[in-house]
Symmetry: C2
């Protein structure tokens, strides 16, 4: 089994599990991580454990970087083979969502480049997959980004971050918020990025993400014909220590970069 096959297998297994847990979400144990709006449930942990176990069974010596439980380190020089995982991107939505926008995200990274990736949306049971230079699919159907290039008519997904980062977020995104056609904020990077790949939105901007938030989505968008960069226009490299991302259909990319008055891209403080 190659890496993409393994990703697909794991996503189907975990997606069904998460959908079942969603039905009983009011009975879940919830913990706060770094603040009142940064939540962790037993489902995040169980899904991550399941994913890590499946990977270790097939590729025992590969490294794993993931959001929860002590696997959340991202070194400047990653191992030559590593996996980047977010067991549930959008935990808040998982716990409370009317339109439950959350995804399971798995990327395989070889020599620092994302080479295979998948995202599952448990509630709709959609599975998005991509392999470098081989295109992206949703439920096996090929995906192609939109060609809309007019920012004033584009649908742009933003994120307002936690209250502690709100001021900086608004300063950074102010001109984007003024210039975009439609604005949406669903609170899950995976959902925003899959929407761009499927031509349902044009761009996603976030000032502070970890590699596991966007690794899989980045490859899916790029393989559907889109573009990814840092907020200063530099290439989006998973382990460069920067936090801001702009991922788009390509056609609105430069217009958005021009609205992001970022003299320096945000850089993560050493952890």
């Amino acid at each position: 089994m190659n890496e993409l096959d393994l990703i697909e297998l794991i996503l189907h297994e975990t997606s069904a599990y998460v959908k079942a847990k969603y039905a009983g979400r009011t009975r879940l144990q919830v913990h706060e991580k770094r603040g009142a709006n940064d939540l962790l449930t037993e489902v995040d942990v169980a899904v991550q454990d399941l994913i890590v176990n499946r990977i270790k069974n097939s590729f025992p010596t590969d490294a794993v970087i993931a959001e929860e439980e002590g696997l959340d380190q991202h070194p400047a020089s990653p191992p030559s083979r590593c996996w980047v995982i977010d067991p549930i991107d959008g935990t808040q939505n998982f716990l409370r969502g009317l339109f439950p926008a959350f995804g399971i995200s798995i990327a395989f990274v070889r020599e620092g480049a994302i080479s295979a990736a998948g995202i599952a949306m448990p509630i709709t049971q959609d599975v998005y997959l991509a392999e470098r230079n081989c295109g992206a699919t949703r439920n096996t159907h090929p995906l192609q980004v939109s060609r809309h290039g007019d920012l004033g008519r584009a649908r742009v997904e933003v994120d307002f971050s936690n209250p502690e980062d709100r001021e900086f977020t608004l300063e950074s995104l102010g001109r984007v918020i003024h210039a975009a056609g439609e604005l949406r904020c669903k609170g899950a990077a995976t959902v925003a990025l899959c929407a761009i790949a499927a031509a349902e939105a044009e761009a996603y901007v976030h000032v502070g993400l970890h590699p596991w938030d966007y690794a899989a989505g980045q490859l899916i968008v790029e393989e559907a014909g889109g573009t990814a960069s840092r907020l200063d226009g530099s290439p989006l490299a998973l382990f460069d220590g920067k936090e801001g991302i702009l991922i788009s259909n390509g056609a609105v990319h430069n217009a958005l970069l021009a609205q992001l008055s970022m003299p320096h891209d945000p850089v993560r403080a050493p952890e």
Copy 2:
């Protein structure tokens, strides 16, 4: 058949129709109304016609106010019996949505007061109903708003409006955006209001809505225990000519009003 029974019957019929049309949405004719981001499809028109016909069959002399096709007048003194309809609230999402957040909204208004209301979410096939003084339900299960009273931990849904109204929207909502715990923007009032009624969010703020956008949702939230007002704190009356609305679980209402620095509530220009 009373008014609520009729609403429920119509919602089930139209919800199934809209779900089927959603599957073929890329083949729909789309027209611009007041601008590039204000869209109308043949489905909006067909659903409105169907709803109006069903109402006229049962209550031939009742007045109807609705979003499309010349029924979009809202008089200062409405007739003693009238219906307020939005055939598809969230047309943009209907056309493009990954998590398709749009609703069908029907309210029955007696002597100016909303007395029965329903909203259907076609994709999830959920039906929300409310009757004044009799509570609100989702798929027959009673609804109760959340009790969260801390704005810094509350989930608040906002809307950034069309680009033409963006500047005014940001000025009006700036302090709310800074103060809220989680911010979401799904672009459909019906979806936001049903989320509040179901304790999945705490509040919704919008600076410029028509009565058909919120009439049904307002009653559903109020009957689930929530509160509705204009942005200046005055009672939310459908035909008072004002446009801004704040609808919440009640517990965060005053904290939000304090952040809305609105000396005068926006008033609609005569149409």
